[in-house]
């Protein structure tokens, strides 16, 4: 029963994180210039590299989200989730520590609908981080299609 429950939890977390990452990627893919400005507002990226990050990061979020839901390369997707969430937590924390109040740029990049960063943003990302670790350190690989579980 416990084993069955664990499998359900892992699949539930995969769905949750997958949907969140896909949702987060769509507006950023549609508006790369606005997303680049949102990244620039954190003042954590040197040499004007925010544009290159704005081109790549949303597609990475989309790919990770699709892989988690579809059960393809779940280990790699979970690792990428962990890395991205650690980077997000670091970026938000340094901005808060410097006392700057900016749009998060987490899910939408338009100023009208965007949310400001705050402690709640960090706590939310920590929640995603914990879910990602649960996925990575799962005991059983159910509903996964590539690579085939042995």
């Amino acid at each position: 029963m416990t084993r069955y429950f664990k499998v359900q939890i892992v699949f539930f977390f995969r769905l949750i994180i997958g949907i969140i990452f896909i949702y987060a990627s769509i507006d950023k893919i549609s508006h790369p210039a606005e997303f680049a400005i949102a990244i620039g507002n954190y003042h954590a990226v040197p040499f004007g590299l925010e544009n290159m990050i704005a081109m790549v990061l949303p597609w990475l979020e989309l790919l990770v989200g699709v892989c988690l839901i579809a059960g393809i390369m779940v280990d790699g997707a979970a690792i990428m989730c962990i890395v991205m969430n650690i980077v997000f937590i670091f970026a938000i924390s340094q901005a808060l520590a410097r006392g700057i109040s900016i749009e998060c740029g987490c899910f939408t990049v338009s100023a009208e609908t965007g949310e400001n960063i705050g402690l709640q943003t960090i706590l939310r990302d920590i929640g995603y981080l914990i879910m990602s670790f649960v996925i990575l350190y799962r005991n059983e690989k159910r509903l996964e299609f590539f690579p085939k579980p042995v």
């Binding site: 508006h31 790369p32 210039a33 680049a36 620039g40 507002n41 003042h43 040197p46 040499f47 004007g48 590299l49 925010e50 544009n51 290159m52 704005a54 081109m55 790549v56 990061l57 949303p58 597609w59 990475l60 790919l63 990770v64 892989c67 390369m73 280990d75 790699g76 997707a77 979970a78 690792i79 990428m80 890395v83 410097r98 006392g99 700057i100 109040s101 900016i102 990575l136 690579p147």
Partner: protein
């Protein structure tokens, strides 16, 4: 690269996203440059902007001196030791952004012009601080790119100590 290992999968995902991201940027109508453009140095500005629309412009030495003569507030973005060794006369300095904002607001409102400078044309601290101030609601920000190097070389008014 073995795509069956977790690290191999992660590398594959990054490479795939780079190819799709950079590739799609080439063909989309709202494409962006690979590197974000830096501030262009302006030789003329208008302080008569009454709309309070945010302005963030890089300015030359000549323009910085003109603004200094007009009594515009200067902010030093360098570390304390450099500030103590010498800075633009009457310039403000505070390592803590919120304290700096309170100090500025004690003398003027957020829509009054402010000049920010750092060590030399290569340093990025003045630009970073200017963006921080813009995020905090300041609307007329001028980044003096030449910084303390050009100012002190020109022999313009300066002082030492805190």
């Amino acid at each position: 690269m073995d795509i069956r290992t977790p690290i191999g999968q992660s590398v594959f995902m990054i490479l795939f996203s780079c190819i799709v991201g950079f590739g799609s940027n080439l063909f989309r109508s709202n494409s962006i440059p690979w590197i974000a453009p830096k501030l262009e140095i302006s030789d003329s500005i208008s302080l008569e902007n009454e709309t309070n629309e945010p302005v963030l412009t890089a300015i030359s030495l000549t323009l910085a001196k003109k603004l200094f003569d007009d009594g515009v507030l200067f902010i030093d973005a360098r570390d304390d030791a450099y500030f103590v060794a010498g800075h633009v006369k009457s310039a403000l300095k505070n390592a803590f952004l919120m304290e700096l904002i309170f100090t500025i607001e004690a003398t003027q409102n957020k829509h009054a012009p402010v000049v920010v400078y750092c060590g030399d044309p290569g340093c990025g601290d003045s630009e970073d601080l200017a963006y921080d101030l813009q995020d905090s609601g300041f609307t007329k920000l001028y980044v003096f790119k030449g910084g303390w190097l050009e100012w002190s070389k020109a022999g313009y008014p300066s002082e030492v100590g805190k």
